[in-house]
Assembly symmetry: C2
Homo-oligomer: 457 residues x 2
Amino acid sequence: MKHVLAYITDHRDRFVHKLQRLCRQPSISAQGVGLVETAHLLVSQMEECGIPARLIPIPGGPPLVYSEVRGRSSRTLLFYNHYDVQPPEPLEEWESDPFSAEIRSGNLYARGAVDTKGNIVARMAAVEAWLRTEGELPCTVKFLVEGEEEIGSPHLPWIVREHRDLVQADACIWESGSKDHTDTLNIYLGVKGICYIELEAEGANRDLHSSMATIVPNPAWRLVWALSTFKDPGERIRIEGFYDRVVAPAPEELNQLRRIAESRDEEMLRRDLGIDAFLLDQHGLDLLVRHLYEPTCTICGLVSGYTGQGSKTVLPRWAMAKVDFRLVPNQDAEEVLGLIKAHLARYGFEDIKVRPLGIENPAKTPFDAEIVQVAVETAREVYQKEPFILPLMAATGPMHVLCTQFGTPAVGVGVGYAGANIHAPNENLRLRDFFEGIMHIALILERFGERYRSRAG
Amino acid sequence: MKHVLAYITDHRDRFVHKLQRLCRQPSISAQGVGLVETAHLLVSQMEECGIPARLIPIPGGPPLVYSEVRGRSSRTLLFYNHYDVQPPEPLEEWESDPFSAEIRSGNLYARGAVDTKGNIVARMAAVEAWLRTEGELPCTVKFLVEGEEEIGSPHLPWIVREHRDLVQADACIWESGSKDHTDTLNIYLGVKGICYIELEAEGANRDLHSSMATIVPNPAWRLVWALSTFKDPGERIRIEGFYDRVVAPAPEELNQLRRIAESRDEEMLRRDLGIDAFLLDQHGLDLLVRHLYEPTCTICGLVSGYTGQGSKTVLPRWAMAKVDFRLVPNQDAEEVLGLIKAHLARYGFEDIKVRPLGIENPAKTPFDAEIVQVAVETAREVYQKEPFILPLMAATGPMHVLCTQFGTPAVGVGVGYAGANIHAPNENLRLRDFFEGIMHIALILERFGERYRSRAG
């Protein structure tokens, strides 16, 4: 192990250059920019590390980058990542070109520097360090790097179905993890699910003069009335059966959350957001529990009729809303879609069309899973600080389809920090977080393989 | 009178050329195009007719064209019109250039051909015919032609306040009137009022990832909830006091409406609009009464968050709605604005900003006003058919500010027809309606002056 860590220290500059090279290759899934090029680059970068990699073609999507490296045992750790990035816009708010990967004061600035190219290279680097010093990995490792995470991983269910053997593993290191504003590593054990729908209402066959509103149905009204039955001003979602499967936090989860709540600077967050109070005026532990365990119903978009300057007296022909339901364990996204449709029918809104645009189930790894212990123990060693364990994160990812449905426990660790500006201008990685992240993965590999041997022996 | 009508017949072609010239001059108030040029052209065209005209400058707006021609008596008839037109877009749907004033099969195609340049020229032509044959008008005539009607006549209250004497009259011929699909002239006695507002809600200081919807208020929800308290799915407006001043149709109005309802082809209208049924499944007289006497609350525009293709998980920072309340006698637009604000406060929506964008009171001329009898009698003679009297129209105009507040009775007669495509591509005037319209105005002038003399004598 000592040799492994020394190797990482000796090759720091090379790993940074590798990451810069990867960040300089744009790979914007929402715009279809540079995806195939990035997949090819990644394969060659992995092979430079001694990791045999290949492309798996996906009909209608950019290829998957896949690798499997046998270790001392067949016990397998899966690394899930994505090589695509969010669009860099608004460009004028970047201090350097989002694909220049400029380093300033120890930080590397680039779209994707943290989410998740920094994590990909950290994991490759840790594997390389093992291979070049010990000649072999302590366990078997699989890399699965997709190119569509930022647009909702539309082909991942297909990959899992068609290449089921490739995703089988004993545990998974999820795409990312991050230090919070107290510089404490947050390890994530789960994600919310999502049911993202588009609602459409139609009226006459054209926009009409609004004097016709006496006798012609208005789709904007139909939509507003339908939406208003979804959730009341007290934030209670009114869709029958919606909360039936929701599970309250377990006592050990609440203990973790209490620690985290005490460390948080709510006031700083509130001021940064520019709001007078958090929703329902909640604070402390209640606020944190609500953030992680409460499913949501969010109007993400709304449009109808005339929305320009001044007045135009129009009776719109069409109205549309985008609504995102974030789901918590053990809700089921397909079931929720059915509940929404039944709700609309029950309230007399059969005229409103429902189109699902994103369906993902929530997922959560149990606290007592071995990989959780491994991640926590090794984090203590690397970061010299007790990490926080977040039972869930408020955002969504394809953890259920890739892991939870097969019983594979997954934990998120990685190289982010509170100022990383993920999905925003000036995304950046602190290089010290990058090196610590490489060390952390190297230690996880060792401990994961070791535990198995000790258990097997 | 015989000479007057013969003069009109003899000069038909010249009147058509005059109208073509006026239509070829664009005058789009919404885009600030050609307004001053049109005002100057109109003054010179009126002077060619022997009508001394002048421009009255308006601070911040295009000039008013004004004229007063003394007649045999000081009894005064006011012609209200506007020289501005709606924008011609979408241009690709016009069969000829909207400002070419092309004549095809007896119809003149141009933006503004009917609304209201055709009416302006018809009224000028009738006055010219009297002046050139009888040397004098039977009554005094005032022309008031503004350049901002299509954007809500924002300076008309100022004009009325600053030049009160100019608008004083014994009766007014309102800007327009139209034949319906049975080729029966519809004479309008009133207009609805309007209270057009913009509602705004704000949340955080930027769009956020929708995972924050657990703890950050969503302005789109605030707006939807607030709107849903304005009107229920049974179309009842829930703003306290809103209906207090609404007056039911009088028996003589219902008699007229019954005649009209019997002549209407509801099915044709329904099919043309592409709707399955009229609102609340109403028909016949009920439908017509609802159309004319029911105030409305219409969402004209709605926007928040992401409205493009596909899914984007955003918690919007802002939401906006445009809502138009059409008001009926005797509602008061300023009072309704106050009721809306009080309603929002009562329901806990003080956070929603209300900005008034248009305030006009409803107006209605009594059935028994002398000018109504004059318009009906003369219509019978010219059109050889009993006209319909519409106590109200469903649309809005500045009749209250110009006429009703001074007790001036106003009636709408004019050169439109059911296929005129007002405000739409291929607006057009049937030349026979134009000539009949000139005759009608010439007869109204005679009868209006005559009645006065007989009454005075």
